[in-house]
Amino acid sequence: MKPDKVIAGIMLVVGLVVLFRTSTGGMGQSYSREVTVSPASAPDVQWSKYEDAFPREQGEPGVSFSWSRTLGLWISALLTLAIFSFLLGDNVVYKLAEAIFLGVSAGYVMVAGFYDGIVGKLLAGLAPTLMRDSLLPGLPPEQQTNWLNIVPLILGMMLLWRLSPKGGWISRWPIALFIGITAGFRMLAYFEADFVGQIQNTIVPLLVFAADGSFDWVQSVKNLLMVTGVLSTLTYFFFSVEHTGVIHRVSRVGIWVLMITFGVGFGMTVMGRIALLAARLEFLFDDWLWLIDPLNRRS
């Protein structure tokens, strides 16, 4: 039996269900609620904004069928299916979805970088008055021009120089600043939290007595295993001595501890990936196909 037939069968059934349910208006619709905004600070100005509404709320004042949201819902559902089609092999639909993804994600981070970094940090420092009048009206009035921001402006321009075919070395200055700063703060943070901090966390008594004076053997074994685990694994990561004799045996224990660590990591990762799949399927079944309604959106 070839899976192709089964898959084709499933696709046909899904297609028919979608067709039938859409034609009867039983799926894939979005509603929005019109809310009038009248800001307190300017009584003569007012406008409408639209919020998500549940299909069950249709008929309530201001709630109506939303074309843009419905279109969006269908596009999201089709894109989701397009990505899943990769499982059947690389194909045009997947490639198209991927091309859209590449463009949208690059565009989005650029917009976010522009408004939050260039406007919010650079221009707010260089031209606070202009920004107060336009993009950032809430900038504190006491904020003065910070001329030091010219330095990152120039360095930023130098970074963009990398796009030109010649003189790529110019971008080394900002890159060096980038790397130097990273080196500086990473050195401190890692040493503090991951070296000193971990040593301190590992200092525990190997014999533990409960409050009533009795010997707490469970906790004692736990502490003993933990400390031995850390020390033996550190031995495994010891490179300047050859691992023979006792050191070999200790580092072997270390490797087993690491394998249990990785086993836990493996199990947890599987759990995570399945959760993500469940979330996508829930989107398809709930938001788009209207097969389930756990949030009582429609009833």
């Binding site: 976010a112 939050d116 809430g138 993500l276 469940a278 009582n296």
Partner: protein, 285 residues
């Protein structure tokens, strides 16, 4: 059997099995009881035992890719803080974290109508610069966040008016998927300044964060299981929350989780049995 060809199988059959294992429990809306584990209760207590009205920083460092695991956690944190009247300051180190904050503010507005912007919660939006943002937040809050996401000055909002360093807050809740995320919050904020912090992370990240517990990090919710147990802990303490289906998102996702895990375990076992049986045949031949 044509299904198995030389110990291999058309992988599309396995994909189909996975689709069914995850899809059917969702369609049938299977749910199972959860018992909050001690690590999850530690997170619950850290939020619950704070005096009402404490100021909390909510860091949302994730993108839609991990929303399946982290969205339930994030909204559970928001709902828990809401029932305790804690004051929330939202912040994202990921550009994609900003929309997540907004969807959680919608929850706040709908379910806790008494929450007032500026007084009870503030949205600082996305802050670019990765861990460097944290370096500045611990020395000069206003330098990093002179305005909130709407451009309102943080010096005028009652909640942030007196804030000069984030160490003045009572707790950091970090919900994160990667770098920058919980590890950076521990390295730059919780560890050097002894700030109390709890985290909710993807299952992938959780094991490595256990190394920071309990001194540098109070506790961590790992993946969807952590989210489900946390939701259960909230429902156990505040039974009215149990009537809210939105507050059971993690619990609902544990149905597909059960069948999915069992399928994977079965595949590993069958794969290994076939491998060893073939290896033996190979040695014999």
């Amino acid at each position: 059997m044509t299904l198995l060809k030389e110990g291999q199988i058309d992988r599309r059959w396995i994909y189909l099995a996975m689709l069914c294992a995850v899809g059917l429990p969702i369609l049938l809306q299977l749910t199972f009881p959860e018992i909050p584990s001690p690590k999850v209760l530690d997170v619950f207590d850290a939020v619950d035992k704070l005096p009402e009205g404490s100021r909390i920083l909510m860091a949302c460092d994730f993108d839609p890719a991990s929303a399946g695991e982290l969205e339930p956690m994030m909204s559970a944190f928001v709902r828990h803080c809401g029932t305790k009247n804690h004051k929330l300051i939202f912040l994202a180190l990921w550009p994609q974290g900003a929309p997540v904050i907004k969807s959680n503010i919608v929850i706040l507005n709908k379910e806790f109508p008494e929450y007032e912007y500026g007084k009870d919660y503030v949205n600082l939006g996305y802050q670019p610069g990765n861990e460097v943002v944290l370096k500045v937040l611990v020395t000069d809050f206003k330098k990093q966040c002179s305005t909130d996401v709407d451009g309102t000055s943080t010096s005028t909002l009652p909640l942030t008016r007196d804030l000069t360093k984030i160490q003045q807050l009572s707790l950091v809740i970090s919900v994160s998927t990667g770098n920058p995320g919980t590890t950076e919050w521990v390295q730059y904020v919780a560890s050097p300044f002894g700030m109390p912090m709890v985290a909710g992370t993807t299952a992938v990240q959780a094991p490595s964060l256990y190394a920071y517990i309990p001194r540098q990090l109070i506790s961590v919710l790992g993946g969807i299981k952590g989210a489900a147990e946390y939701e259960q802990a909230i429902i156990d303490h505040y039974p009215t929350m149990g009537e809210n289906n939105g507050a059971r998102e993690g619990l609902r996702r544990m149905g597909p989780q059960l069948l999915g895990h069992l399928l994977i375990v079965m595949l590993i076992v069958v794969g290994n049995v076939l491998y060893f049986s073939q290896k033996e045949k190979g040695v014999g031949a």
